[in-house]
Symmetry: none
Subunit: 412 residues, 2 copies
């Protein structure tokens, strides 16, 4: 059993609005074992809508249509559907009363254009909308189910959760589905792929996908079985294999960021941290303070872009910078140790490197970073080289630093 999504709206194909509805629906459908085969996005154009629907009906049992049900002249989804299903618009008194009640409740006069939303295609069952004026429709034709919903996200989600997803789930009796996502850091997609080895050995149990993100590559596993227990068991087999081969690069077995993991570790241990950033320019501090409640573990951060700032704020000896250069493991460690001592916190974390595009040399190329971490028992450093644009290098530098901090906290 498969589903397709047809998203309708000029604002979608012109790029004014990003199609987040389709992503939301895709996630919900996958979790009830009904994968989406295709998402088709068209403008407010009757011929394109009919063509998309005809094509989808040839392939899929479930078709979800969103958008173009508003009260204005450019919303033409309803009339396109009447043409397609060869039916008329008829007044639905229940919907009319609901629309009137909404306006009464808000103390507003009822606009003619809103009243016309009570006219519904005669071939469809109405899906009531408790959050807005546009009702949804359900067409059933030769085993195909076509659900039509407004494009306003919270209205669509309300109607999906209340009536459509339970209905589809009841109809999907083929499979039980279980899924897991591993987040990695510090390994490139191609290297991770080789570490895990022959994908067929994982895919005996579960479908495996690699999803690159600035924080690192994610590995997603989806297992299906004829019972919940079977799906769960298959997922565990696949997960065990990935863990065995690539465990040392995995920082979480659910979808999350490195700063979330670090925040949780620090909070659990009632530990505090301070940052000393050069090339990351405040990004590590920004990430650590993006978590609600971060004032419990984040004490301060300094961004010492100039050598003078490194000396004044962090007491890095001028002689150390002269001897090894600002981009060196010695300076990274000195920054981490000193920010920890000066701020009086448990952990100090520091970066110094070359984000680019300028400032590189043969010896110290663009993309090079030294990361230092310090705690009461000492300090350590890592050296990485990335090759990306400035923003991506900063992202990767910051995530490598958070990962080093994570490893230091758990004694990895």
């Amino acid at each position: 059993m498969h589903a397709e999504i047809i998203s309708i709206g000029d604002e979608l194909i012109s790029g004014k609005t990003i199609n987040s509805n389709a992503a939301w629906m895709g996630r919900q459908l996958l979790l009830i074992g009904v994968p989406v085969l295709q998402v088709t996005t068209v403008g407010d154009d009757a011929a394109m809508i009919r063509e998309a629907l005809a094509t989808a009906e040839r392939r899929s049992e479930i078709i979800l249509i969103t958008g173009g049900l508003g009260p204005t002249h450019d919303d033409i989804t309803r009339s396109a559907l009447c043409q397609y299903f060869q039916c008329d618009l008829v007044l639905n008194p229940v919907v009319l009363e609901q629309i009137r009640e909404r306006f009464r409740h808000r103390g507003l006069p009822l606009a003619k254009s809103n009243e016309s939303q009570a006219m519904v295609p005669s071939a469809a069952q109405v899906i009531y909308n408790r959050q807005g004026t546009a009702p949804g429709y359900h067409f059933e034709q030769s085993g195909r189910h076509v659900y039509v919903l407004p494009g306003v996200p919270h209205e669509m989600q309300g109607m999906m959760n209340e009536s459509i997803l339970p209905e589809i789930r009841a109809r999907q009796t083929e499979w039980f589905i279980e899924s897991k996502t591993f987040c990695t850091n510090g390994i490139a997609e191609s290297m991770l792929y080789e570490k895990i080895g022959n994908p067929a050995e994982v895919e005996r149990w579960a479908k495996m996908a690699f999803l690159p993100a600035p924080s690192g590559v994610q590995v997603r596993l989806i297992a299906q079985g004829t019972s919940a227990a079977e799906a769960r068991q298959k997922l565990e087999q696949a997960a065990a294999r990935v863990l065995e081969r690539a465990g040392r690069y995995i920082y979480a077995d659910y979808e999350c960021t490195l700063e979330q993991v670090v925040a949780e570790l620090l909070t659990q241990r009632k530990a505090t941290v301070a940052t000393a950033e050069s090339c990351t320019g405040g990004l590590i501090a920004h990430k650590l303070t993006s978590i609600a409640g971060s004032s419990a573990y984040f004490e301060r951060g300094v961004v010492c872009y100039s050598n003078r700032a490194k000396t004044e704020l962090l007491h890095v000896p001028t002689s150390l910078i002269e001897r090894h250069g600002a981009v060196s493991e010695q300076v990274a460690m000195s920054m981490a140790e000193n920010v920890r001592r000066i701020a009086g916190v448990d952990y100090g974390i520091a970066t110094t490197g070359i984000a680019g595009p300028g400032g590189g040399s043969d010896d110290k190329p663009v993309g090079l970073v030294f990361i230092g971490v310090a705690d009461k028992s000492g300090s350590q450093w890592e050296r990485h080289i990335f090759s990306g644009e400035r923003w991506l290098n900063k992202e990767r530098f910051a995530n490598s630093a958070l990962n080093l901090l994570r490893k230091r906290i758990i004694g990895f």
Copy 2:
């Protein structure tokens, strides 16, 4: 002349990744007068890819395909295209050398799976990728142009900007298109809409769209004419109207960020800046250092999350914090003045506020921020209240601060 977009990837139809690439491409294509007719999103499935391509070729002259060009087994776009265009994979020595060079640069061994990315369809021209290992392809067949690009956003955008958009623009000879985007800060979308007044008066000359972004609302104007001069003249009429009505909120008449504008102003004036952040947690420093060459104007930043850090790093008097609270105009100004003096720079910029979700009170609610800016002739402050999630509040706080700095620099 129309375009279609085919987005490929299991992560898109499963809703793991929101299809922001299609929106970006739709915007860029519209700006060169080539509207998108349909966006088709399919999984990593050869038959679905071929079907989507065959359908798109019947309707549109330009087809842009993204995704599924990675080095792993689930990336099958390339082989699906070879089947569709009935050609083989051949080794491209230039691409192979580029991939080798990338790995050499990072000091990493070359994975077999990456080496295989140098195998390209024999029927295609190669589009070089300067930001990653997957090259793009250009197929031309009976007047149809099929461009194939990796799904990694910055790689796709780089290749679009460098080669594909200029090529399509040269081929679009029906209309002359001129467009302009005004970036605003400090005004909500509905207020901006009312300020500009009757949209028909602008749309006599150019299509107008409002695009909300965390940095502020953008107003996009697109004019078309049968000559370049006509399109330009219509655009100027529309732009004059927008400028007249909403000019004081506009910080740029092209698509850019506030940090880009501030960076340019500082660089032109050979001026320097230091940041003192509380609630923005390093985000302003991160934004200011996201611009290449930022070491010329950014001297240092401090993130003083605790009151102790405010006193130790910025010499904010404890009595001032006790009298007015840490979230106050007095503390914001003291932070800005002191960071300027201590760092020995031309401008100091500071934030103190409540990003939420916790920490608010009736007096000082979540979303409240005080911003201070200081230069040699004195200091000033602004107070804003926003209502969003933590990340959005931080974004808006930081952008408001950058806008205040901008206004101070130009003497607004």
